[in-house]
Protein backbone atom coordinates (compact mmCIF):
# COMPACT_ATOMS: atom_id res chain seq x y z
CA UNK A 1 0.00 0.00 0.00
CA UNK A 2 2.66 2.44 1.18
CA UNK A 3 4.76 1.81 -1.91
CA UNK A 4 1.82 2.10 -4.27
CA UNK A 5 0.81 5.45 -2.72
CA UNK A 6 4.39 6.70 -2.92
CA UNK A 7 4.47 5.78 -6.60
CA UNK A 8 1.04 7.45 -7.09
CA UNK A 9 2.23 10.63 -5.41
CA UNK A 10 5.31 10.72 -7.65
CA UNK A 11 3.38 10.52 -10.91
CA UNK A 12 3.84 13.77 -12.87
CA UNK A 13 0.13 14.68 -12.72
CA UNK A 14 -0.02 14.26 -8.96
CA UNK A 15 2.97 16.57 -8.49
CA UNK A 16 1.57 19.08 -10.98
CA UNK A 17 -1.81 19.08 -9.19
CA UNK A 18 -0.25 19.58 -5.75
CA UNK A 19 1.93 22.43 -6.99
CA UNK A 20 -0.75 24.12 -9.11
CA UNK A 21 -1.79 27.57 -7.98
CA UNK A 22 -5.26 27.45 -9.52
CA UNK A 23 -6.34 23.85 -10.23
CA UNK A 24 -5.99 22.59 -6.65
CA UNK A 25 -7.91 25.48 -5.03
CA UNK A 26 -10.63 25.21 -7.69
CA UNK A 27 -11.00 21.45 -7.13
CA UNK A 28 -11.01 21.91 -3.35
CA UNK A 29 -13.59 24.72 -3.64
CA UNK A 30 -15.84 22.51 -5.77
CA UNK A 31 -15.50 19.79 -3.12
CA UNK A 32 -16.56 22.24 -0.38
CA UNK A 33 -19.39 23.86 -2.34
CA UNK A 34 -20.80 20.45 -3.27
CA UNK A 35 -21.41 20.00 0.48
CA UNK A 36 -24.38 22.35 0.03
CA UNK A 37 -25.79 20.18 -2.77
CA UNK A 38 -25.03 16.76 -1.29
CA UNK A 39 -25.35 17.28 2.46
CA UNK A 40 -28.10 19.88 1.96
CA UNK A 41 -30.39 17.44 0.15
CA UNK A 42 -29.38 14.49 2.37
CA UNK A 43 -30.23 16.60 5.41
CA UNK A 44 -33.68 17.53 4.10
CA UNK A 45 -34.36 13.85 3.50
CA UNK A 46 -33.12 12.90 6.98
CA UNK A 47 -35.14 15.67 8.61
CA UNK A 48 -38.22 14.28 6.84
CA UNK A 49 -37.49 10.80 8.23
CA UNK A 50 -37.20 12.34 11.70
CA UNK A 51 -40.58 14.03 11.16
CA UNK A 52 -39.10 17.50 11.62
CA UNK A 53 -40.14 18.88 8.23
CA UNK A 54 -42.69 18.36 5.40
CA UNK A 55 -44.71 15.93 7.53
CA UNK A 56 -47.60 15.96 5.08
CA UNK A 57 -45.39 15.19 2.09
CA UNK A 58 -44.97 11.41 1.65
CA UNK A 59 -41.42 10.19 2.37
CA UNK A 60 -41.02 8.55 -1.07
CA UNK A 61 -41.87 11.85 -2.73
CA UNK A 62 -39.20 13.78 -0.78
CA UNK A 63 -36.60 11.04 -1.34
CA UNK A 64 -37.45 10.47 -5.00
CA UNK A 65 -37.55 14.12 -6.04
CA UNK A 66 -34.34 15.06 -4.20
CA UNK A 67 -32.34 11.94 -5.08
CA UNK A 68 -31.11 13.13 -8.51
CA UNK A 69 -29.62 16.23 -6.82
CA UNK A 70 -28.11 14.16 -4.01
CA UNK A 71 -26.54 11.89 -6.64
CA UNK A 72 -25.17 14.88 -8.56
CA UNK A 73 -23.67 16.29 -5.36
CA UNK A 74 -22.24 12.86 -4.46
CA UNK A 75 -20.62 12.51 -7.88
CA UNK A 76 -18.96 15.93 -7.60
CA UNK A 77 -17.75 15.06 -4.08
CA UNK A 78 -16.28 11.72 -5.14
CA UNK A 79 -14.54 13.03 -8.28
CA UNK A 80 -13.05 16.11 -6.58
CA UNK A 81 -12.27 14.13 -3.41
CA UNK A 82 -10.34 11.47 -5.35
CA UNK A 83 -8.40 14.19 -7.18
CA UNK A 84 -7.48 15.84 -3.87
CA UNK A 85 -6.34 12.45 -2.50
CA UNK A 86 -4.36 11.83 -5.69
CA UNK A 87 -2.50 15.13 -5.22
CA UNK A 88 -0.88 13.95 -1.96
CA UNK A 89 -1.73 10.28 -1.27
CA UNK A 90 0.91 9.43 1.35
CA UNK A 91 0.04 12.44 3.52
CA UNK A 92 -3.70 11.71 3.47
CA UNK A 93 -3.15 8.00 4.07
CA UNK A 94 -1.37 8.78 7.35
CA UNK A 95 -3.77 11.55 8.43
CA UNK A 96 -5.94 10.39 11.34
CA UNK A 97 -8.87 12.61 10.32
CA UNK A 98 -8.78 11.13 6.82
CA UNK A 99 -8.84 7.65 8.38
CA UNK A 100 -11.71 8.66 10.65
CA UNK A 101 -13.56 9.94 7.57
CA UNK A 102 -13.12 6.60 5.80
CA UNK A 103 -14.48 4.73 8.85
CA UNK A 104 -17.46 7.10 8.94
CA UNK A 105 -18.09 6.45 5.21
CA UNK A 106 -18.52 2.79 6.11
CA UNK A 107 -20.97 3.74 8.89
CA UNK A 108 -22.98 6.01 6.55
CA UNK A 109 -22.93 3.36 3.82
CA UNK A 110 -24.04 0.52 6.12
CA UNK A 111 -26.81 2.72 7.54
CA UNK A 112 -28.13 3.49 4.04
CA UNK A 113 -27.86 -0.20 3.07
CA UNK A 114 -29.73 -1.44 6.17
CA UNK A 115 -32.42 1.23 5.69
CA UNK A 116 -33.03 0.44 2.02
CA UNK A 117 -32.94 -3.33 2.49
CA UNK A 118 -35.10 -3.15 5.60
CA UNK A 119 -37.86 -0.79 6.61
CA UNK A 120 -37.71 1.23 3.37
CA UNK A 121 -39.05 -1.73 1.37
CA UNK A 122 -42.44 -1.08 2.95
CA UNK A 123 -42.21 2.72 2.71
CA UNK A 124 -45.67 2.95 1.10
CA UNK A 125 -47.21 1.47 4.25
CA UNK A 126 -45.74 4.00 6.70
CA UNK A 127 -44.74 7.10 4.78
CA UNK A 128 -47.94 9.00 5.63
CA UNK A 129 -48.06 8.13 9.35
CA UNK A 130 -47.87 11.09 11.74
CA UNK A 131 -44.96 9.41 13.54
CA UNK A 132 -42.66 7.28 11.38
CA UNK A 133 -41.43 3.84 12.56
CA UNK A 134 -38.49 3.93 14.96
CA UNK A 135 -36.17 2.23 12.50
CA UNK A 136 -36.81 4.93 9.88
CA UNK A 137 -36.16 7.69 12.43
CA UNK A 138 -32.97 5.99 13.63
CA UNK A 139 -31.79 5.72 10.01
CA UNK A 140 -32.42 9.46 9.52
CA UNK A 141 -30.60 10.41 12.73
CA UNK A 142 -27.66 8.09 11.98
CA UNK A 143 -27.30 9.49 8.48
CA UNK A 144 -27.43 13.06 9.75
CA UNK A 145 -24.81 12.39 12.44
CA UNK A 146 -22.50 10.35 10.20
CA UNK A 147 -22.43 12.90 7.37
CA UNK A 148 -22.03 15.83 9.79
CA UNK A 149 -19.03 14.08 11.40
CA UNK A 150 -17.63 13.28 7.94
CA UNK A 151 -17.71 17.00 7.11
CA UNK A 152 -16.02 17.93 10.41
CA UNK A 153 -13.37 15.21 9.97
CA UNK A 154 -12.88 16.28 6.35
CA UNK A 155 -12.26 19.87 7.36
CA UNK A 156 -9.69 18.80 9.97
CA UNK A 157 -7.65 16.80 7.42
CA UNK A 158 -6.11 20.16 6.49
CA UNK A 159 -4.17 20.28 9.77
CA UNK A 160 -0.92 18.42 10.42
CA UNK A 161 -1.42 18.19 14.20
CA UNK A 162 -0.73 14.47 14.31
CA UNK A 163 1.64 13.90 11.39
CA UNK A 164 3.99 10.94 11.73
CA UNK A 165 7.14 13.11 11.85
CA UNK A 166 6.01 14.88 15.04
CA UNK A 167 8.17 13.52 17.90
CA UNK A 168 6.77 12.32 21.22
CA UNK A 169 3.22 11.53 20.12
CA UNK A 170 1.18 9.05 22.17
CA UNK A 171 1.41 5.49 20.89
CA UNK A 172 -2.27 5.33 19.97
CA UNK A 173 -1.92 8.35 17.66
CA UNK A 174 0.95 6.73 15.78
CA UNK A 175 -1.05 3.51 15.66
CA UNK A 176 -4.19 5.26 14.35
CA UNK A 177 -2.16 7.14 11.76
CA UNK A 178 -0.40 3.93 10.69
CA UNK A 179 2.99 5.57 11.14
CA UNK A 180 5.92 3.39 10.07
CA UNK A 181 7.70 2.14 13.20
CA UNK A 182 11.35 3.18 13.48
CA UNK A 183 13.69 0.35 12.53
CA UNK A 184 11.09 -1.32 10.29
Amino acid sequence: MERFLEWLGNTPWSIALLESTLAWPLIESSHVLAVALFFGTVMMNDLRLLGWTMRRVPVSEVTGRLLPWTRLGFTIMVVTGLLIFYSNPVRYYHNIFFRLKVVLFVVAGLNAFVFHRGIHRRVMEWERLPVLPGRARVAGATSLAAWALIIVAGRLIAYNWFDCDIPGQPGWVNWAAGCPVAGD
Partner: protein, 166 residues
Protein backbone atom coordinates in the same frame (compact mmCIF):
# COMPACT_ATOMS: atom_id res chain seq x y z
CA UNK B 1 -7.17 37.87 -5.86
CA UNK B 2 -6.25 39.37 -2.52
CA UNK B 3 -3.30 41.31 -1.27
CA UNK B 4 -4.59 44.54 -2.80
CA UNK B 5 -6.32 47.21 -0.81
CA UNK B 6 -9.99 47.27 -1.65
CA UNK B 7 -11.60 49.15 1.25
CA UNK B 8 -11.06 52.79 2.33
CA UNK B 9 -8.02 53.40 4.50
CA UNK B 10 -10.24 54.95 7.19
CA UNK B 11 -11.84 51.55 7.86
CA UNK B 12 -8.60 49.83 8.82
CA UNK B 13 -8.61 50.94 12.51
CA UNK B 14 -12.06 49.36 12.90
CA UNK B 15 -10.74 46.03 11.60
CA UNK B 16 -7.74 46.28 13.92
CA UNK B 17 -10.07 46.84 16.85
CA UNK B 18 -12.19 43.85 15.80
CA UNK B 19 -9.10 41.63 15.67
CA UNK B 20 -8.15 42.73 19.20
CA UNK B 21 -11.53 41.90 20.72
CA UNK B 22 -11.55 39.20 23.39
CA UNK B 23 -13.26 36.71 21.07
CA UNK B 24 -10.93 37.46 18.16
CA UNK B 25 -7.86 37.01 20.34
CA UNK B 26 -9.17 33.82 21.96
CA UNK B 27 -9.96 32.17 18.61
CA UNK B 28 -6.61 33.22 17.14
CA UNK B 29 -4.57 31.96 20.08
CA UNK B 30 -6.32 28.60 20.33
CA UNK B 31 -5.17 25.71 18.14
CA UNK B 32 -8.57 24.03 17.94
CA UNK B 33 -11.03 26.93 17.98
CA UNK B 34 -10.66 28.13 14.39
CA UNK B 35 -10.81 24.67 12.74
CA UNK B 36 -13.77 23.54 14.87
CA UNK B 37 -15.77 26.75 14.34
CA UNK B 38 -14.88 26.55 10.64
CA UNK B 39 -16.15 22.96 10.50
CA UNK B 40 -19.47 24.01 12.07
CA UNK B 41 -19.57 26.90 9.56
CA UNK B 42 -19.40 24.17 6.87
CA UNK B 43 -22.31 22.30 8.44
CA UNK B 44 -24.19 25.59 8.29
CA UNK B 45 -23.33 25.76 4.58
CA UNK B 46 -25.02 22.37 4.18
CA UNK B 47 -28.12 23.45 6.11
CA UNK B 48 -28.40 26.82 4.36
CA UNK B 49 -27.66 25.19 1.00
CA UNK B 50 -30.29 22.52 1.56
CA UNK B 51 -32.94 25.09 2.48
CA UNK B 52 -32.07 27.37 -0.45
CA UNK B 53 -32.03 24.44 -2.88
CA UNK B 54 -35.30 22.93 -1.65
CA UNK B 55 -37.11 26.19 -2.39
CA UNK B 56 -35.20 27.26 -5.51
CA UNK B 57 -35.39 23.85 -7.20
CA UNK B 58 -39.16 23.99 -6.77
CA UNK B 59 -39.24 27.54 -8.17
CA UNK B 60 -37.21 26.25 -11.15
CA UNK B 61 -39.90 23.66 -11.79
CA UNK B 62 -37.99 20.63 -10.50
CA UNK B 63 -37.54 19.07 -7.05
CA UNK B 64 -40.81 18.60 -5.12
CA UNK B 65 -43.05 19.36 -8.11
CA UNK B 66 -46.15 17.67 -6.67
CA UNK B 67 -46.32 20.32 -3.93
CA UNK B 68 -47.48 23.90 -4.55
CA UNK B 69 -44.59 26.41 -4.83
CA UNK B 70 -45.63 28.40 -1.75
CA UNK B 71 -45.81 25.21 0.37
CA UNK B 72 -42.26 24.13 -0.42
CA UNK B 73 -40.89 27.61 0.23
CA UNK B 74 -42.78 27.69 3.54
CA UNK B 75 -41.39 24.28 4.57
CA UNK B 76 -37.85 25.39 3.74
CA UNK B 77 -38.13 28.71 5.57
CA UNK B 78 -37.34 27.70 9.20
CA UNK B 79 -34.26 25.76 8.02
CA UNK B 80 -33.18 28.75 5.95
CA UNK B 81 -33.40 30.99 9.02
CA UNK B 82 -31.58 28.37 11.14
CA UNK B 83 -28.87 28.03 8.47
CA UNK B 84 -28.34 31.80 8.25
CA UNK B 85 -28.23 32.03 12.07
CA UNK B 86 -25.64 29.24 12.31
CA UNK B 87 -23.52 30.90 9.60
CA UNK B 88 -23.51 34.24 11.45
CA UNK B 89 -22.87 32.60 14.81
CA UNK B 90 -19.77 30.84 13.47
CA UNK B 91 -18.76 33.34 10.78
CA UNK B 92 -18.40 36.32 13.14
CA UNK B 93 -15.79 34.70 15.46
CA UNK B 94 -13.89 33.44 12.39
CA UNK B 95 -13.84 37.00 11.04
CA UNK B 96 -12.81 38.51 14.40
CA UNK B 97 -9.83 36.16 14.61
CA UNK B 98 -8.36 37.50 11.35
CA UNK B 99 -10.14 40.81 10.72
CA UNK B 100 -7.07 42.63 9.36
CA UNK B 101 -6.33 39.81 6.90
CA UNK B 102 -9.96 40.08 5.78
CA UNK B 103 -9.59 43.84 5.30
CA UNK B 104 -6.86 43.22 2.69
CA UNK B 105 -8.69 40.25 1.14
CA UNK B 106 -10.66 40.91 -2.07
CA UNK B 107 -12.69 37.68 -1.69
CA UNK B 108 -13.81 38.85 1.74
CA UNK B 109 -15.23 42.03 0.22
CA UNK B 110 -16.91 40.11 -2.61
CA UNK B 111 -18.60 38.05 0.09
CA UNK B 112 -19.52 41.08 2.20
CA UNK B 113 -21.20 42.72 -0.82
CA UNK B 114 -22.94 39.62 -2.18
CA UNK B 115 -24.14 38.44 1.25
CA UNK B 116 -26.51 41.35 2.06
CA UNK B 117 -27.73 41.26 -1.57
CA UNK B 118 -28.46 37.52 -1.27
CA UNK B 119 -30.17 37.97 2.11
CA UNK B 120 -32.21 40.94 0.88
CA UNK B 121 -33.18 39.10 -2.27
CA UNK B 122 -34.18 35.91 -0.44
CA UNK B 123 -36.10 37.55 2.40
CA UNK B 124 -37.45 40.41 0.26
CA UNK B 125 -37.91 39.95 -3.47
CA UNK B 126 -38.19 36.15 -3.47
CA UNK B 127 -40.72 36.21 -0.65
CA UNK B 128 -42.93 38.73 -2.49
CA UNK B 129 -42.89 36.76 -5.74
CA UNK B 130 -43.57 33.50 -3.92
CA UNK B 131 -46.51 35.05 -2.05
CA UNK B 132 -48.09 35.95 -5.39
CA UNK B 133 -46.90 32.81 -7.18
CA UNK B 134 -49.21 30.31 -8.85
CA UNK B 135 -48.92 26.73 -7.62
CA UNK B 136 -46.86 25.87 -10.72
CA UNK B 137 -43.46 27.28 -11.69
CA UNK B 138 -43.45 29.92 -14.42
CA UNK B 139 -40.81 32.14 -16.04
CA UNK B 140 -40.97 34.56 -13.12
CA UNK B 141 -40.35 31.93 -10.42
CA UNK B 142 -37.56 30.43 -12.58
CA UNK B 143 -35.85 33.80 -12.90
CA UNK B 144 -36.13 34.41 -9.15
CA UNK B 145 -34.62 30.98 -8.41
CA UNK B 146 -31.76 31.46 -10.88
CA UNK B 147 -30.84 34.83 -9.34
CA UNK B 148 -31.07 33.40 -5.81
CA UNK B 149 -28.85 30.40 -6.68
CA UNK B 150 -26.35 32.69 -8.41
CA UNK B 151 -26.16 35.04 -5.44
CA UNK B 152 -25.74 32.28 -2.85
CA UNK B 153 -23.16 30.53 -5.03
CA UNK B 154 -21.17 33.79 -5.16
CA UNK B 155 -21.35 34.15 -1.36
CA UNK B 156 -20.18 30.55 -0.82
CA UNK B 157 -17.44 30.57 -3.47
CA UNK B 158 -16.05 33.93 -2.32
CA UNK B 159 -16.18 32.65 1.27
CA UNK B 160 -14.10 29.58 0.41
CA UNK B 161 -11.68 31.72 -1.58
CA UNK B 162 -10.90 33.96 1.44
CA UNK B 163 -8.68 31.15 2.68
CA UNK B 164 -6.89 30.69 -0.64
CA UNK B 165 -6.07 34.32 -1.42
CA UNK B 166 -3.28 36.00 0.48
Amino acid sequence: MGGRQFAPEAWLPFFERMENTAIGTAVRESIWAFPIIEAVHLLGLGLLGGAVLLADLRLLGTGLTRQPVANVVRHAHPWLVAGVALMFLTGIPLFLSEAVKCYYNTSFWVKMISLPVALGFTFGARKCVVAAAPSRANWRTRLIAAISLGLWFTVAAAGRWIGFSA
